[in-house]
């Protein structure tokens, strides 16, 4: 008999257990979910105040502003991805658990996306409407944000794992993650702009999708390796 074969059902159980636990924790501490969401809404409010309420201007900057705000909000929520687990010792327990670490890490990242990415996507149409974004474009924006937040959660988990326990806060994490996240922002925001200009935008969607798939298959390993290093 092979050990690999025998672990199959258990792996799925571990993944689901981690997702369930993290969702339960978010449920008991809704602030962790809501604060980045409020931040997202507030950043989006800042721009019309600073740039002026002109409709053409707002239509022009809308996709970029929403995307930058989403990126920053995700970054804000990533900071706490591993910190509380690190502090109460449950991260160490995950590291010595019989489950493969990349799978557990993937579970934590999925839970993070469900609690940060999904709410962002759901709130974004409201904000987009204030930027006079047409309905069709809003659909494209939600699609790019869905794929984009998946990418950001996965990429960000690597940075969060590298910086856990360093007590340098968000600044270091941002410095690590923002350059990595730039292609995602660039693809996402420009795709929405293209859609707003009635141009072909499918390239950006496919590229984001490809990025998400690649990140999904590679980043859990990098995050797991980074966590083992950070916990030495």
């Amino acid at each position: 008999m092979s050990d690999n074969e025998a672990q199959q059902p258990a792996i799925l159980a571990g993944l689901i257990a981690v997702i369930r636990r993290d969702l339960l924790l978010s449920w008991k501490r809704p602030g962790d979910v809501l604060n980045p969401l409020f931040f997202f809404a507030m950043v989006c409010t800042l721009f019309p105040l600073a740039v002026g309420p002109g409709a053409t201007q707002l239509m022009f900057i809308g996709p970029g502003v929403l995307w930058v705000a989403a990126l920053l909000a995700t970054l804000l929520s990533l900071n706490s991805l591993f910190v509380s687990d690190f502090e109460d010792g449950s991260l160490e327990q995950l590291l010595v658990s019989p489950q493969p670490l990349p799978v557990l890490v993937l579970g934590k990242t999925i839970a993070h996306w469900l609690c940060s990415g999904v709410p962002l996507v759901l709130v974004s149409p409201l904000l987009a409407a204030t930027y006079r974004m047409p309905t069709g474009v809003i659909g494209v924006m939600m699609l790019t944000l869905t794929l984009g937040t998946v990418c950001l959660s996965l990429l960000g988990s690597i940075g969060a794992a590298l910086t856990v326990g360093l007590n340098r806060g968000t600044a270091l994490l941002s410095l690590l993650i923002l350059p990595l996240a730039m292609p995602v922002l660039l693809l996402g925001a420009n795709t929405v702009s293209l859609a707003a200009d009635n141009e072909m935008y499918s390239t950006g969607i496919w590229a984001l999708g490809a990025y998400a798939v690649a990140a999904l298959s590679l980043s859990p390993y990098a995050t797991a390796a980074a966590l083992r290093i950070s916990n030495e």
């Binding site: 050990d3 369930r20 924790l25």
Partner: protein, 216 residues
């Protein structure tokens, strides 16, 4: 499928022996120990003695596979643990300084999670609570428990998972007299049933078993 896995662990447990040879560990600038070795057979207790900062916890973490060593290898059943990490981790439980319990979750929720990660855990949480005398605490979020109570609760992990190797880092910290006796009793039971235990302590431990000591 799950049965196959626990069978593998049981088979390992029969031959399980924890040993190490020529371990060297450097933390930051300091060499904590050099050329350290031990061999632990089923039913034996390895006691790590030393003052604060002497490297007890580091050695314990190295055994658990959390720290990489400068030289030497930890062997489980004669094979390096890093080459069989999952199997090895399936054979041990680790009691660290921090409880590893989520403060916002209740005891039951914490242990449910623990059980999901360890398909080979056979014991019912109810049974474990009874054994530890913490039944009335089980519905409370862990944050409301005192440090001593949390320590007791952390022991639930040991009992829930029926695994051969216990790694206990300063298990008596914060425990009252009853708690100490309970821990000693549980450890003795575990050793008597053929388990292995590595324990760090800065005071004497009165456990009826074969004790091997490593002084750091």
């Amino acid at each position: 499928m799950t049965d196959c896995w626990s069978a593998a662990i049981e088979r390992k447990a029969l031959t399980a022996k924890l040993s190490a040879d020529d371990l060297t560990l450097i933390r930051g600038e300091r060499c904590l120990f050099q050329g350290l070795g031990f061999a632990l057979n089923p039913g034996e207790l390895l006691l790590l003695r030393g003052q604060n900062g002497s490297g007890k916890t580091s050695l314990m973490r190295a055994i658990a596979g959390l720290l990489s060593l400068e030289s030497g290898e930890i062997l489980w059943g004669g094979e390096p643990v890093l080459q069989q990490r999952q199997l090895f981790h399936g054979s041990l439980v680790w009691l660290a300084h921090s409880s590893g319990l989520k403060a916002d979750l209740t005891l039951v929720e914490n242990l449910e999670f623990e059980r999901a990660l360890r398909p080979q855990s056979v014991h019912e949480p109810e049974h474990v609570f009874e054994r530890l005398g913490i039944e009335r605490l089980k519905g409370l979020p862990v944050r409301f428990l005192s440090a001593g109570q949390q320590r007791r609760v952390a022991f639930a992990r040991m009992l829930l998972a029926d695994v051969p190797l216990w790694l206990l880092d300063e298990p008596f910290t914060n425990l009252d007299q009853d708690g100490r006796e309970l821990v000693i009793e549980l450890t003795e039971e575990h050793l008597a049933s053929g388990g292995l235990c590595v324990m760090s302590a800065h005071q004497d431990v009165d456990i009826a078993a074969t004790i091997k000591t490593v002084s750091l």
